[in-house]
């Protein structure tokens, strides 16, 4: 009986936790409290997890950086062009978001290739064109293995070079929603229909913060 009660309670918590009834999205990741001295007073400030600075080559062989996403919200993910497993579904779903907000300058999309050997800018360009992406709003980037994989950790996305899996790279299919301050505000399984529609709702909620 007691077990049942606990199970019920956990279910209730899980259920309410998943409902985004609040109008602001949480800031995801570890937070630290730091004490600063401002005007002679000690103030405690909260430092939230942020996506660090980065710079990568994009599909037009142009070096882009985190500055390109200033004053914007963006959705980031990790993929590779020859991925036979989850990427096509994930990109199919992200394409829906791209098409919904096409030419809306408040939002961008950023796909990092984890196949640093094969996915050179011209390969990414062909992929983007074939996917129907014809403007700068959706960036496809490549970089060194160290740079891309360590940045994936910052987005809390799992990436690994693994010859035993199909395509040679293992990774998770999260679509990560980032705000103007480079704080992560949501992460959604890009292969799951319900979570993708939640992302579309949360994008609107986040955009309202900057109105």
């Amino acid at each position: 009986m007691r077990k049942l009660f606990f199970a019920g309670m956990i279910a209730c918590i899980a259920f309410t936790a998943c409902q985004s009834t609040s109008t602001t999205l949480p800031i995801i990741g570890q937070r630290d409290a730091v004490q600063k001295e401002i005007d002679g007073k000690i103030v405690t400030d909260t430092i939230y997890h942020r996506i660090p600075a980065f710079s990568f080559l994009n599909q037009d062989s142009v070096l882009i950086s985190d500055k390109n996403f200033d004053q914007k919200i963006y959705v980031a993910n990790f993929f590779f062009t020859h991925c036979p497993s989850i990427c096509p579904t994930m990109q199919r779903n992200l394409l829906k978001a791209y098409e919904k907000y096409k030419n809306d300058e408040r939002i961008s999309f950023l796909s990092h290739s984890i196949d640093f050997k094969y996915d050179q800018p011209h390969v990414l360009k062909e992929y983007a064109t074939n996917l129907g992406v014809n403007n700068e709003q959706w960036q496809f980037v490549t970089g060194s293995k160290a740079a891309i994989y360590s940045l994936a950790d910052q987005y809390f996305v799992y990436t690994k070079e693994d010859s035993t899996v199909a395509g040679g790279y293992d990774h998770s299919g999260y679509l990560v929603l980032v705000d103007h301050d480079k704080h992560i505000r949501g992460a959604y399984d890009g292969t799951n229909k319900e979570q993708v529609s939640q992302l579309l709702k949360d994008i609107d909620i986040l955009l309202k913060e900057y109105e």
């Binding site: 036979p84 096509p88 074939n130 996917l131």
Partner: protein, 145 residues
């Protein structure tokens, strides 16, 4: 008099039996096709759907849709080879060219391929005929790969 009734009744009975038999035979065929398609749907979900989509709609210019009846008809035997061995050359579907390579699926058996092709051609295409195990076996022999 009685005798004649018996004859008429018997012949009507035989006729009904015959009709029933014929119709049951027909539905047997379609039941088998449906069984193949159901098995094919499960395999499609785990091996094909990521790229080709849940409705066989493909994805933009990256992956072709699986709805071109004309292509199915003209390449009936080749379809088995494409699934088993993948595809390196480009393909024209509904008049559009797709250049991406398709990966091979060596883990799929002949029967798996028969199930998948039955599912694809009857659900996304308008075919009502089954791909039999034997047909796939013959087709794979003739691939020349």
């Amino acid at each position: 008099m009685n005798n004649r009734y018996t004859i008429i009744l018997t012949s009507i009975g035989v006729l009904i039996m015959l009709l029933l038999h014929i119709s049951s035979c027909q539905s047997n065929v379609s039941i088998q096709t449906a069984q193949y398609a159901v098995n094919g749907q499960k395999l499609y979900l785990s091996h094909c759907q990521n790229c080709h989509g849940s409705k066989g709609e493909g994805l933009a210019q990256l992956y072709p849709p699986l709805t071109d009846n004309e292509y199915f008809k003209q390449n009936r035997a080749k379809l088995s080879c494409i699934i088993r061995y993948g595809m390196k050359e480009s393909i024209i579907i509904h008049g559009k060219t797709y250049k991406n390579q398709m990966p091979a699926n060596p883990q799929l058996t002949e029967l798996d391929i028969a199930y998948i092709l039955t599912y694809i051609t009857t659900n996304f295409g308008t075919s009502d005929s089954i791909y039999r195990h034997e047909e796939v076996k013959e087709a794979l022999k003739a691939c020349g790969i």
